[in-house]
Structure formats: structure tokens, C-alpha cells
Symmetry: C4
Subunit: 371 residues, 4 copies
Amino acid sequence: MPVYQYDGKSFVCIDDFHQYALQTLAKTSLDYYESGAEDELTLKANLESFKNILINPRLLVDISHIDTSSSILGNKVSMPIGFAPTALHRLAHDEGEKATAKAAFDAGIAMCLSSYSTTSIEDVALSTNHQGILFFQLYFNINREITTNLLKRAHASGYKAIALTIDAQVSGFRRKDHKNKFTLPSYMSFANFENQELLQNLSATNSSSSVMHNLLNSADHSITWEDLAWIKEISQLPLIVKGILNAEDAELALKFGADAVWITNHGGRQIDGCRTAIEVLPEVCEALKGSEIEIYVDGGVRKGSDVYKALALGADHVFIGRPVLYGLASGGQQGVSAVINILHDELQRNMQLSGKVSIKNITRTSVMFRK
Amino acid sequence: MPVYQYDGKSFVCIDDFHQYALQTLAKTSLDYYESGAEDELTLKANLESFKNILINPRLLVDISHIDTSSSILGNKVSMPIGFAPTALHRLAHDEGEKATAKAAFDAGIAMCLSSYSTTSIEDVALSTNHQGILFFQLYFNINREITTNLLKRAHASGYKAIALTIDAQVSGFRRKDHKNKFTLPSYMSFANFENQELLQNLSATNSSSSVMHNLLNSADHSITWEDLAWIKEISQLPLIVKGILNAEDAELALKFGADAVWITNHGGRQIDGCRTAIEVLPEVCEALKGSEIEIYVDGGVRKGSDVYKALALGADHVFIGRPVLYGLASGGQQGVSAVINILHDELQRNMQLSGKVSIKNITRTSVMFRK
Amino acid sequence: MPVYQYDGKSFVCIDDFHQYALQTLAKTSLDYYESGAEDELTLKANLESFKNILINPRLLVDISHIDTSSSILGNKVSMPIGFAPTALHRLAHDEGEKATAKAAFDAGIAMCLSSYSTTSIEDVALSTNHQGILFFQLYFNINREITTNLLKRAHASGYKAIALTIDAQVSGFRRKDHKNKFTLPSYMSFANFENQELLQNLSATNSSSSVMHNLLNSADHSITWEDLAWIKEISQLPLIVKGILNAEDAELALKFGADAVWITNHGGRQIDGCRTAIEVLPEVCEALKGSEIEIYVDGGVRKGSDVYKALALGADHVFIGRPVLYGLASGGQQGVSAVINILHDELQRNMQLSGKVSIKNITRTSVMFRK
Amino acid sequence: MPVYQYDGKSFVCIDDFHQYALQTLAKTSLDYYESGAEDELTLKANLESFKNILINPRLLVDISHIDTSSSILGNKVSMPIGFAPTALHRLAHDEGEKATAKAAFDAGIAMCLSSYSTTSIEDVALSTNHQGILFFQLYFNINREITTNLLKRAHASGYKAIALTIDAQVSGFRRKDHKNKFTLPSYMSFANFENQELLQNLSATNSSSSVMHNLLNSADHSITWEDLAWIKEISQLPLIVKGILNAEDAELALKFGADAVWITNHGGRQIDGCRTAIEVLPEVCEALKGSEIEIYVDGGVRKGSDVYKALALGADHVFIGRPVLYGLASGGQQGVSAVINILHDELQRNMQLSGKVSIKNITRTSVMFRK
């Protein structure tokens, strides 16, 4: 039964976890998680973009056996839903990324760890006994030694891929964070940058505030498509290019050797007023047709039916961001597991209700757009 | 005069009955009746889908004599509005399905009884002295003996047709019911399954809760279009396929011998985010053009003009679900009769106001879409 | 200065008069005036339909002299705005239709008197010393003697035209009136039917309530286009066909000798869910192109710019209904005059702001539709 | 850091300044600044018109060096954002136009002074030591001596261009101003008309109220395109035609010698229900393609991304009106500077986030319309 009980409440959908997080997390943490850039138009558009897509059921099909399994970059997963990289999980729950990673591992799904995690690359890997399907998200630091260090540590800890973020060379302007003068609480840290002389040198003091400032301002503004090869060479891992928003850049990713493109507007946190992943998806699929490259999306996914719609429009994998944080805020690992269970139940139920017995059965004709 | 007085209130439109039900029924009953699946997008779309369709009157026509009569599967009715199958009428009023059936019979319209009625097939038939135009709605049980038993009883009690539900092999996820842990009150039962050893065997205890759980989980997930013939053979009755949502499945229904297709999204209770019956209707009419098969719709019908619009777009019959329950909650049989009277008055008035003297006069040019 | 002072308040736009009426009139009167049919979708659409039409100014034009004058059926008017027939003016102000007619006369504009006025045909004519540009609106009574009587009296009193209402053979269903059991207060009457034995014979008693009931139910449901000739013959006046909602009926009006077509949905009071006059206007203009017949519209006109838009889309004259009643409720004749002044000022200002010096300058290219 | 502190508050976006102005300015001043004509539909449309335009980023571009500089009529500016003429700055802050002009000068951007300023042409020029990039906005007075005087003074004080307003031969009707009987407070004046015998002769008294009335009613209604040449001859300055709302008038401006067209609906203060500058921009660009004439827009610009979108659609320069007044109300010159800084930061950030290193990089493919 996809009903989760916690703190005297029943949770039956992602919105229940959202409401719980809104009521229990500290305001500055919530603002950090919840904010989109500027007027938050893109943030809202992400949620809206699924509503105009309709599932088109084909019925009286034998649905005795439903299989939601899939794969991502050669790794078998229980369903094509993974965890997008989100920063600072310990703001939501003390166990932070360890809880998240264990929940993903238990469910047999992929998790992409943020560069800005509050648990280190190594500790996250260890939390799943190096058995998790972990990817590492990279902000390309202007100091190549730092970047090299991160890539090599990810490889050494058994991560399965690198996801290079290309849409955040500067931070989107999230107004509340600036008004809050948001910074990391003193009892947590940017775990991947602890004890790194290289980074500390950038900072006059060693406070988390100044480390954060330095990190956010240490992106290499000069990198271009030509640099993808270097990342693959250093990491020896498949490379996902995360931040694609049109066919042209998707084609460049393919040309320069990416193994996957990740269509995203960064949860509405970067450009305010751009397309949603779902809006971009069809043109990217068309552009990459016939290639082996994989296509991922995120942004606004809150229901199993949202996943279904993205798959139908051509996505190979669908990632969730804030729902993971909402789950984490609702009981730690068990909350995250509950989020996964609910999404799985919703995806499976929608497959049953529309006559699809496997992920491959979900195709372009499985959905239509409301006129 | 289409004004109904009850409990010190005046009822002049279906919404008045709705408001009364909202104020007087128990919360768990209301939640069961009112809920749609998940975010209830489809539930809302059903109501919205009529608003963009406009009646196009042709005036200075002699409207001295208006005839709203029609027929369904060879049965003469006073108007092309029938009762869709809805479960558990005794939640709304102690007389339950008997009151509903008698009101339908008095008005000379058709009623389709739900498998999950709180009054048995036989008792409902008896309430109209076997004179009612009754159909029986079937959930195809995985135990063919149970299914056979239901079909034979319907035939024996003089039901005129079987409506096979194809869109509910699993239940849509209605969140409130899960939070409420909704189950049948102990003083009522799934009347069609009482004293059936077959079904009780599925259940560890004999409580209505466990019977309900078993019923909802005993659909045969393996049935396909090929099984229509078996139903017709066992029941010896015309077969309506209920749950059609596109031209392709409508064509299959025709091919496999259905006598009618019923376009519905199950009152927004199954897939959340699919088309409305009204949106689907034109393509189904186009696909079935030239055949003898009848076309029914339901979903969001709250006014005589909604019926008019559905007829104009090609429906042969229009069914109402929740309005019947609202009427039942507003005085039992007399409330249901008042609902019928108001819809009849509205339909007739819109015919007068648009220069149509018979149901057949209402054609595709009688409506247009707002751009 | 288009600012009207009354009862300690400043009125600068029609909405100010509306607000005043809402605050001061009796609820049953307000409900009668304000209501639309059923869900009032058409009522709202009338107001909305102007918002998507945009004025396209052409500037640096010499606007030293602005002329808003026009004509209607050969009668010169100060602007192409007239008073649509609305019933029961004495509900708004004790002077009723006399005040309305005098305000129209003072402004040099046309007024169409309702059959259901609370001042008689003769008294209204007298109030303007038989100098007003008055039309008479006709509900075609099943008793031809009554109809003949009305037409002959209108002719005898110097009315300039007959406007035959074709969209109200039965009343639209306005819910509040039915809940209110609305009827005429005892101290006023249907003045055109006073002392008429013919009508009284229809009624068991002589109360205004029963007269009203009889009137509303005495429309001749059998009249057709063929009857237009009879009306013209009896009245010896130009004939306006009021209630046109598509090109087909406009063409029939032309064919059967109408001098003007009046596109209207009866203020949203008849069919709920039909097109607005503004939506219908272009196709009627296209259908009647090249003929001498005049084209009028009403519905939702609340600003001079609404008039401008209707003229640009092809209307020859624009009528206002409720705004007249709002003015009447705000000081009687002087309130109605203020409504006229404001609309004239707004029309003139919009002509100045868009470079049009005469009504004829306002053409199809003067407006565009927002995409 | 684009965070401005004032009066105990943090300002991070233009809306923060707007909110502060709403809370601190006198009601009549606010109403004068904030009002649009009539129902304020155009006022709202201006803000809405940017929301449907989306930025289309191209990523992994070297963004190490961002250049926001541009030029206007041969004058180099730090960014293509200027101050639109708005009247009566001293209503917002005692320093009035001096503060505004100094902030523009400090930022290296252009400012267009209103004819109806509360600081004179000469004093504004002096406030920037005659180094500012100042334009003068002209209402063409019916008394040519007054007009000549203004043009010669602008030239003598080093203004760089004349912007002839063509859309305000009469005032749009702003309802609140009429209800407020808005007039200038006695301790400020229409500084460009002080001590002018010519204008005082028009007025029975010398009160600011009567001067204002006279000014607003002294536009020359007879001027046409032919008069542009005279303005250029008298002023010996480049001429901007301000108030263009379609391709036809843009082409006439070009034909009659304008150096720039300014697409605007006057902040929604003139015609209520016309297109927005952003809606008109593409057709004007198409019409003027290949000419040297410059194209400006204003209306609803509240974010750097709005500027970006206007540039992408073909504008050479983007002007802001109310945001300047909101800044002025929030601390005078420093508030205006903060508004500039925030818009510059937003523009630059959106260029970085979308891979554009110079204004010229922002082209038609940099944006798309949401379907």
C-alpha cells in the first residue's frame, strides 16, 4: 500500500511530503531548496508543463505482468527514475546524502551526487557498500587541480558516470537567498572540499560562508565543448552533459563525445524565463534520432504520470530533485524510500490503467497534447 | 416549474443538489463520491470541457411542439439521458438503488446498475416491477464463476444490456479514500456478492472491509477484446463497452461485436490526465460512421445544455453519475426525480431557445467551438 | 469634464454606476437586472469578448475636428450608441422610462422601448414631446389582437421602428429570479398591457404577478420568417430583427425584408453558452455585404472603446442595456445623461487617440485581435 | 552585490522598489504614477507581454568577458537601457530630476527629460555638468513660440536629441486622477514653463493647477508628419518619434526624416486596449529593415531579462519609466543608481547564463515564443 505514516501523518503523494517540509524545515533552508530564479516563472512552468500532456490509454490488453525495470548507461535499474543532484542534503535531515543514497540503493535506482554535497564522495559510496548506482555531478572549477581531484575521487569510489553541469557558470539570482544572506550552518560543510588546501587558499578565512562564496565564484567561465574530452580522459567515466535546452546544443554534445544529454533548466533556478525540459524534449529526440546517446530530463516531476509522459515523449530516464529533499525532510532514509515507493506505484498504476506492460511499451502515441 | 423544495431549501439546478450533498453527507462518503484520481485534473477537465462548446441557435422556427424522446438499444426513453453506474447508493440515502431505479423508471429513462451496488440485481429489478430500463455494469472477476453468476442473474432479472467496464482493472488512486481508509459501513453490503461462497473464500474474514478489498483486487487482468464474445454468449444480452477513450479502441469494440461504446474517463477517477469524453467524441463518431453501433458519453454533465452539446457532437445517449447521487442525498427518490426534471426542463428549454423540435434536430451544426 | 457627482460620490466610468446600483437597489430588482441564464457563462463572455480586440492607432493625423455623429434607419443621431430595450425601468428609479427617454432625447440618441416597460408607449413618446428617436421592441403575442394593438400604438405615437425579439419565445432560466419568486411590485405595472381586456382574460386574477406570468407565457411559438411581412404591414414601420446569432439567420432576415439585424444574445439572459455579438459580427457583416440592411450589436458594452471596436468590426450602431439601468439607479434622468456623457467622452477620446475624425474613419484596420 | 539597503530594508529586484514606493508615497502621487487609462488593460498587458517570450541559452561558450556597452544616436552608453520621460519627479523625491539625471550620468546611460519635469531643462543639464546623455521629450504646443522656445533651450543646454510624443494629443483617461482632482502641489512647478509669459497668458490665474490644465489642453491637434522637418530645423538635433504602434506609422517616420522610432503605448496611460511595444516590435523591425533608423521600446520592463528579450526581438535601446520613479522614491539618487545596478546585473547575468558576451550577440534566435 503506497501510504507512508510519519509523525502522526499519512503521506500518499509527493505533495504530502512537500507540505510536511514546508511546515518543518527552517525558513532559510526551505528558501534555499524551494527558490527559483527571479520571478520564479520557470519554476512554475516546470510544474505546469505536464498538465497539457494527456495519457492515451489502450485497453483490454493483458496486464497480468508489469515490468518497470530499465537501464541507464548500462546499469540495470528497477525503474527509469533517478535522483537529480541537489546540494546540501543535511539541511533537510542530519543523515543527509547517506540516507538519500541508501534509499536509492535499496530501491535499485540511480543517484547523482552534487559537488556541493554535505557528505563526501567517499562517504556516500561507502554508505551503499560501493554497490549503489552513483553518478557524480561536476561544477568545473577554474582551478584544474580541484576539478581533477574531484573526477579522480569519483572514479576511485566507483561512481558510474560524471554529469557536467553547463548551465551554472554563474548562479541564477534567487532573491530570498540574497535577502537571507544564506550560508551553510557552521556544523556542516561542503564535504567534497574539506581539508583541501587548494580551495582554502582562495579564501581569506576558513568559514563555511567564505568557502561557499568561493565555490560559487570559482567556475571556469572559459570552458567550451572542446573540454569534454579532457573530463572523460581524467575521469575514465561516461560523461553526461547536464543543462541542455535545445537541439543545437544537444547535437554539439553528441559531436563532442557525450554519452548522455540531460535536458534541464536546473529546477527553475538559473534562467527565469526559458523552456521546460518537457517542452524541449521532442526537438532533442528528433535531433539525436539514430544515435546511441541517452536522453534524460528533470524539472517539475511530482507524479508517476509525469514520468510516464516524459518517457512517452522520448526520455530514457527521468530525474527528480526537490521530491527527494521533501522525502528526506519527512523521516530521513525511510521518507526518501516512501517517495520512491509512491512514484513507483503511480508509474505502475498508470501503466496498468493505460495498457502498457513494460517501459518500452510507453511510446509517442501513449500521450497527446491537449489543444 | 423546475423548482424543487426540500429541507427548507429551493433547488433550481444540479449545483444546488451538489451543495446540499456537500453540507449533509458524511465526509468519508462525500470523499468517496467526489474524489477523482491523484491531482483531480481530469475531474476538473470534465466540467471545463463543455464551456468551450457553444450552442448555435437557428430562430424563427416553429417550436410549438418539442419532443425530447429517444431510444437506447431499442428501448424507448423520454429523453436521451440515463444514469451511469455509480457504486454504493446507500451511502447517500437509506433507500439506495431502489430509490434511484424508481425515479428513473418514473421518468422513463435508462439506468445502469453498478456491480458494486448496495442493493442486489434482483431487488433493483423488483423495485420497478421489472418494468425499468435497466442495464448491468460488470467488473470482470478473475473467478469466472463469479462473473458468470452476475451475467446470468442480470439476464434473469430482465436487464436489457451488459456494460463491461474496461478502464478499471486496477483502481485509480483517490488520495482521500486512502487517507480515510475508506470502507463500507457495517450496516450495508456489496449486495450482489452477499452469501456467495465463491467470493467469501477469497477473504479471511467476512467483514465488508475485506470483501471490498477482495472485490477491488479480483479483476481479471488478462482479459482482452477476444473475451467480449464470451460475455455476450453467457448473458444473452447486448454488450456495451464502457471506458473507450480513442478511435482505435472504439474500432476494436465494433470489430469484436460490441453493441455500443461508452466514452468515459470514469468520472475522473482512474487516469488523472487523460482526455474527456467530449474531447474524444468527435474522433470516435468519425471512426464508427456508417455502423449501427451506439455511442454514449458521460463525465461532467451538469446541465441540459451539456447534454445538448454532447448530442450535437454525435452522442446517441448521455449519462450522468454524481448528479444522481446528489439528488439521492437530497430527499431520496423525490430528489432524484427533481434532478431528472431539471435536466429535462433545461434540455427542452435549450431546444426551444435554439429552434430544435426533436433530438434528431440537434446536429453537428447546432454547436461550435469557441476559438 | 466627464465626472458626475451624486449622493456624495464621483462617477467617472460605467463601473462606478454599476457599483452604486449594486449598493442601493433592492436585491430582487438587482437580481432581475443583473442575472444571466443558468451558469452565467454568456453573461461573462459578453464582457470578456472585447478584451481581446485591440485598437490600432494611426497618429500624426489632424484631429482638430472630431465628429461622432451618425444615423440609424434614416434618423440623425449624435453618436452611434443607443439604448437597448430593457424591462421594468421603474425598479431602478421612480421616473422609470420617462427619465430614460428624456436623457436619450437630450443627447440626440436612439432609444428602443421594451414591451415590458413600466411606462406606456404613449407616455414615453409624450415625455419627449414626440421628438425622441424611439423604437418599439415587440414580443410577438400568441393573441394577434394584442400584437396588432401594440404595433398600431407604436406607429400612432411616432415610434420610428419595430424591433422584433426572436430569441425569447421562452424565457432563459435565471436562477435567482426563480429562487426569489420574482414578480412586479404592486405599485407598478406592465404599462403597455394595462386595461387590456384581451390580456386580463388570460389571467384568473388581476394581480401583476399573474399578468407577468401570462405575458411571459403568451409568446407565439409558431411564428417564422414568413411573419415578418405581417408585422411590417400592420406597423407601417421599418423592422429590426433582434436576436441574430449567425450568418444564416442574418441572411434570412435580409431575404424576408428586415431593415436591420440586431446581433445579440439578450444580455446573456437566454441561452447560456452561445457566442457573443462581437464574435458573431464579422460573419454577419460578410454575409450581408453589399446590402442596405443595417447591423446592430449589443452585449457587454461598458466603455467608449467597446463601441469603437464594434464599429470597427462592422456594426452600424451599438446598443447598451444594463448601463442605462445603472445610470437610472444613480439619480434618474441626470444619472442616465451622465452615462451617455461618459460614453461619448470615451468614444471621442479613443477616436482622438487613434487618429479618427469621424465614425466612418473607424474601419476594419482600426482594430486587431490579440493572438 | 546587487542588494541595496535603505530604510532598514533590502532591495534585490525592481519589485522591491515598487513595494517601497507603494508604502511610502502619497496616494495622489502614487495614483498619478501608477495609473493606466480606463480599465488598465494595457497597463497589465505591458507586464504580461514579456512572460510568453523565453530565453534560449547556448551553453559551453567562453563567457570570461561580458560587454554590455552599446550606443544610442552616436552616444556611447554602458548598456542599452535608458530612462523614458516621466513627468513630475519631485513627487517621488525632493531632488527630483536632478537626482535622476545624476544617477543616469554616473551609470553612463541615457535619460530623456519630460516636458513636464519639475526641474528645468537647464538645471537638469547643469546637474550633470553638461556631460549627461540627455534627450528632451516634446509635447508640441499649439503656440509655436512655446514649442520653439523649448526646442532652442534643449539645444542650447546640450541635449542630444528631441523625442516628439505623438500619442498624447489628448490625455488618456486615468480614472483615479480625475477622482483625486490631481494637480501639482503648490511648492513645485512645471519648471520648463515658469516665468513664461506666453503660457501664463493662457491661464486666468497663475496657480499650478491652472497651468497644468492649460498645458494638458494646449497640444496642437493639427500637426502631421509634415511637421517633423520643422522640429529638426528649429532644434538642430536628431529626432525620435515616440508613440509608434504599427509598421505603417514606423514607415512614415522613416519617410519624414526621423532618426529613431520609439515603440510605446505610453505606459498604458493613453489608449486602453492596444498592443504592447513588445507585440509591435517584430513588425516594425521588419518594416524598417535595411534603414539606419534606430528602434526603441518601453513598457513593462522590470527585469534585465525583459531588456534582453526586447533586444533579441530587434530593439536597439530599451527604456524604463516607472522603475526610475520607484528608485527615486527609495532614497533619491542612490535609489535610482541601485535600480540601474540591479538591471545591469540582471542583464549581464542573463547574458552569462545564455552564452552571450556582447549586446550584438543577442539576436532573434536568442529567444522564442512559448506556444
